[in-house]
Amino acid sequence: DAGVTQSPTHLIKTRGQQVTLRCSPKSGHDTVSWYQQALGQGPQFIFQYYEEEERQRGNFPDRFSGHQFPNYSSELNVNALLLGDSALYLCASSQHLAGTTETQYFGPGTRLLVL
């Protein structure tokens, strides 16, 4: 059973550029959440997708956008990159079941370095 996968594993970009990160959820999962983890910090919630719509959003600017595809995979796009966007970007998947509290399972992350 494949877990959450993310690509690429590492990425180096220059300030002002745009980047797209990809995530495939764990088999059977339909909800994808994205988190940003700066060095030495805990993950911070960016947004969550379910049924191809953004359902919740954290305190991140509009430069951060996303998409979910019919096969439940997801993309995170960041425009006009800043040095402060350098971080580990984590994707987490879960299964939406009414009346339960679902556990989020994380992928290995994409390490983004902005120069």
Binding site: T31, G42, Q56, S94, E102, T103, Q104, F106, G109
Partner: protein, 113 residues
């Protein structure tokens, strides 16, 4: 504002020396407290979910407990392979069953042989 505070920031133990990690939280209606383990440069690995005060869960050398204000992760007779950063997270009532997780900064555990 929902908040999670973990202590200590770092903990060094000798192999076999038991100890506890603390997670204090303030949340608008707890809808789950989660413990994860994270190895350097990797994604968090799920360990436990606790839902209500008094609940306890165990896995190998780890035992998680929950009160109305904090959670403890007890490590019994740790081994070097237990070295990692342990993250605590909460989900609040308003986020619903799929609500986002609010993380603490983690406790970095080092176990020396």
């Amino acid at each position: 504002e929902d908040q999670v505070t973990q202590s200590p920031e770092a903990l060094r133990l000798q192999e076999g020396e038991s100890s506890s990690l603390n997670c204090s939280y303030t949340v608008s209606g707890l809808r789950g407290l989660f413990w994860y383990r994270q190895d350097p440069g990797k994604g968090p690995e799920f360990l436990f979910t606790l839902y209500s005060a008094g609940e306890e869960k165990e896995k190998e050398r780890l035992k998680a407990t929950l009160t109305k204000k904090e959670s403890f992760l007890h490590i019994t007779a740790p081994k070097p392979e237990d070295s990692a950063t342990y993250l605590c997270a909460v989900r609040n009532y308003y986020g619903g069953s799929q609500g986002n997780l609010i993380f603490g900064k983690g406790t970095k555990l080092s176990v020396k042989p």
